[in-house]
């Protein structure tokens, strides 16, 4: 029941996040228009059957991965090793807390804080 509630809230938050990112790219409509359209379209994709939803998911994941790979290769040449010290300044506890928050990110919730308010 609680996980249900958490997941539903998270879904609402990623919908808002999506809206604000698309608004950054195409500032034609308000972010909420993009959020609501995304929910409606993905609902239809889900209603059409698991195969269709799977195909849509493949395309989405492919674009996300491609953008991250581009990010990694764009940055590799300009790394500054000074940025890696101090390494893990908060010790094991810091790593544990960061992991817990990242765990949340794994299900996509991390975007709660980072979505840009513009």
């Amino acid at each position: 029941m609680d996980v249900l509630l958490s997941k539903l809230s998270a879904a609402g938050i990623v919908a808002i996040g999506f809206g604000s990112y698309v608004h950054e790219l195409i500032p034609v409509f308000s972010p909420m228009v993009y959020s609501v359209s995304a929910i409606v379209l993905l609902t239809i994709a889900n209603l059409l059957g698991i195969k269709k939803a799977g195909t849509v998911n493949m395309v989405i994941v492919f674009v996300t991965l491609l953008s991250l790979v581009y990010f990694v290769f764009s940055g590799l040449g300009a790394l500054d090793t000074n940025n890696f010290t101090p390494f893990a300044p908060f010790g094991v506890l810091g790593i544990a807390e960061a992991s817990a928050i990242l765990f949340f990110a794994f299900t996509g919730y991390a975007r709660i804080a980072p979505w840009p308010k513009r």
């Binding site: 879904a11 889900n46 209603l47 698991i50 989405i60 990694v72 765990f103 980072p114 979505w115």
Partner: protein, 203 residues
Amino acid sequence: MEPEKTIPRAVIITILTAIVVYAAVSFVAVGLVGADRMAESRSPLQVAAGTMTTPGIGLVITLGAATAMLGVLLSQILGISRMLLAMGRRNDLPAFFEKIHPVTSVPHIGIIFTSVVILAITLLGSFEFVVRSATFTILLYYSITNLAAMKQPLVQQLHSRAIPWLGLAGCLAMSVSLPWDVIVSGVILLAAGFGVRWLVKKM
């Protein structure tokens, strides 16, 4: 099509890919702008991308962020609707959630219900309380998954029994390292959830 082979393989490939991608992205982002500047920002990857000179990098990162959100949204609608189905079957929720569409074989009632709630949360805003406690409840949920894996008959277990034990230890260690207010709100939410379940069962 053999699910007993393809699912474990898919899980392992997914986890390994995620580890490599997460590690590479964090390595590059920290190496470029440092952890402090990333911590100050609400969109740390955009900050890191801001220092890059490759064409269209800002656009690509924003597009990637948008599709990442979209992917989570798609899989949440998919996952939550199946959770409602399972809860309907176990009488934790009303039985109409069990219905499967005769043509598309999806739990359409659950999908529509999920989407309506997500729409409402998106338009009206979420309860901050729920969001704050979500990290804790999710970790608890994965702890239960590990417990369930331990209880599985030995013949059904694909890997060593050490894996769920390690998983459980990891989840518990992470959950106790969370800020105390997150833990408290998680416990209150859990109590409320059990209350609702008790009410549904009574009806």
